[in-house]
């Protein structure tokens, strides 16, 4: 099970997919002297058990151009299978169901965070411009499809195939694979844009520390002050960025197999991609919850891009002041149409 340990270690370190370019080292010959003359080749034969103990895989020479064929035996294939069919479904299941239960539980205990009257001044302030919303939704849409098709690799044959039957499931999976491979590119693009545009607003600072100490307002009822993004939002930003980059790196490595690493590297890359993937999905579930059901009015920020000025002053006071300072003519007002809060 050493493969899993490496996978978890890599996760902990948050290091990118460990690109293990294990070049095929020649097998240490039993008795290689300068001149083999006088030796007994029959008795000097290599033995499989001894080689596997020393090198844990058997690399040789073949006369055909496909270098991969020179790998005679790699027992790690069984270990990777043990991880992918044994551990991974559990990790995924616990992470995703766990998060869903947590959100479900939270919803039925704390309920939806309502807008109180003081936060409906009828005046709107621009939270996210069109481009920011576009890049968010580009990434989000792709993420949803990637998540579903990704999970299909793990849970499809366990949950979906019995329902729709192998033929339809195979066709679906084929489409799922294409979708996963090709939508990954817009996802990566969106990820990059989000990183570039929002990174300056997501640098953690003292205000965030205070925000966290107050439990983000969940514990007490006081609203801790926050800039454009409060600590929670900064956390999800960094989860998306780091997780996204890891997923992209391992994804690209898997999309161009053996271009940078050998088969054990590919196994590890897939393991990292899968584990981070399920955790990433879990995290995003929380994000989706809080951005839609969890807090009233939060969706507008990314839906229309405008939020109520009072709501903004309550939740992102320092950000509002910044905005006011920046625009001497007062808050950005778009048309005088008062928009009823949904």
């Amino acid at each position: 099970m050493h493969l899993l340990r490496i996978a978890l270690a890599a996760l902990m370190l948050g290091g990118g997919a460990a690109v293990l370019a294990q070049t095929g080292r020649d097998v240490p010959p039993a008795a290689s002297t300068a001149n083999p003359s006088g030796q007994n080749p029959t008795a000097a034969s290599v033995r499989e058990d001894q080689l596997l103990r020393e090198l844990n895989k058997l690399q040789g020479r073949v006369s055909i151009p496909d270098g991969k064929a020179a790998l005679l035996e790699q027992p790690q294939g069984r270990e990777w299978r043990q991880f992918r069919e044994g551990w991974l479904p559990w990790i995924g299941g616990i992470a995703i169901l766990g998060m869903l239960l947590a959100l479900f539980g939270f919803y039925f205990t704390k309920g939806r965070i309502r807008l109180d009257q003081t936060e409906e001044s009828g005046v709107k302030i621009l939270r996210f411009n069109a481009f920011e919303r576009f890049m968010h939704w580009l990434t989000a849409v792709c993420f949803i499809v990637l998540a579903l098709t990704g999970l299909n690799y793990i849970f499809g044959k366990r949950l979906l195939m019995p329902i729709i039957g192998p033929d339809a499931f195979a066709a679906l999976s084929q489409w799922g694979k294409y979708a996963h491979n090709y939508l990954a590119w817009p996802f990566m693009l969106g990820l990059l844009l989000m990183l570039i545009v929002w990174v300056k607003d997501n640098i953690p600072n003292r205000v965030d520390v205070a925000w966290i100490r107050k439990g983000g307002g969940f514990l007490g009822d006081a609203h801790p002050s926050a800039y454009r993004f409060n600590a929670g939002q900064k956390m999800i930003f960094w989860i998306v960025v780091i997780g996204g980059l890891l997923m992209s790196a391992t994804g690209i490595l898997m999309l161009f197999p053996f271009s940078a690493t050998d088969i054990n590297g590919m196994q590890l890359t897939q393991a990292v991609h899968a584990v981070i993937g399920v955790l990433f999905i879990a995290a995003i579930l929380a994000h989706i919850y809080i951005g839609s059901l969890g807090m009233e009015g939060a969706y507008d920020a990314m839906g229309s891009g405008e939020v109520d000025l009072a709501w903004a002053r309550r939740h992102h006071d320092l950000w509002v002041e910044e905005q006011r300072a920046k625009t001497a003519s007062g808050p950005q007002v778009h048309g005088a149409r008062p928009v009823p809060a949904e």
């Binding site: 496909d66 005679l72 294939g77 161009f256």
Partner: protein, 198 residues
Amino acid sequence: MARMKFLCDADRCIECNACVTACKNEHEVPWGINRRRVVTLNDGKPSERSISMACMHCTDAPCAAVCPVNCFFTTADAVVLHSKDLCIGCGYCFYACPFGAPQYPRVGNFGSRGKMDKCTYCAGGPEADLTTAEYEKYGSNRLAEGKLPLCAEMCSTKALLAGDGEIIAQIYKERVVKRGYGSGAWGWKTAYRETVAI
């Protein structure tokens, strides 16, 4: 019922590639798809040994387990086959296979590699035995004709043994006892979780 296995006696294999071309001939395997190949360890040194390797039709086959569309099936005589209609060409079976058996018609990226092809132990595929459709997708079906894989039948020094596991293990054991040396049943521990005690 027989439990079909492969055993390559590395102390007889001379890397003459008869197994490779017999497979190419029998199933008209295209260029670039190498169902079987001979790997030489310690090439050029006195301990050099060559081993012919295709698919070992493993017990509890890793490829079958990791396949996201479960397109593998194991026949009653333990030959691991798969359906090219269900296969989506994702390549996971290649990572899982301890012996590098799966081959793909297209190479370059994960995207559209085409359907996986691998050694079928000359037992064809899910199509009806000995039909043209089976031949076009999986090659000929010698087992249905009561024969054994052609690679083993034509091996120049009878190094590659194919057939029921016990029988070929017995043959190999007798050889080792008679000649006094043997470098082991290569791949058996990994493939069948047991090996021939010599």
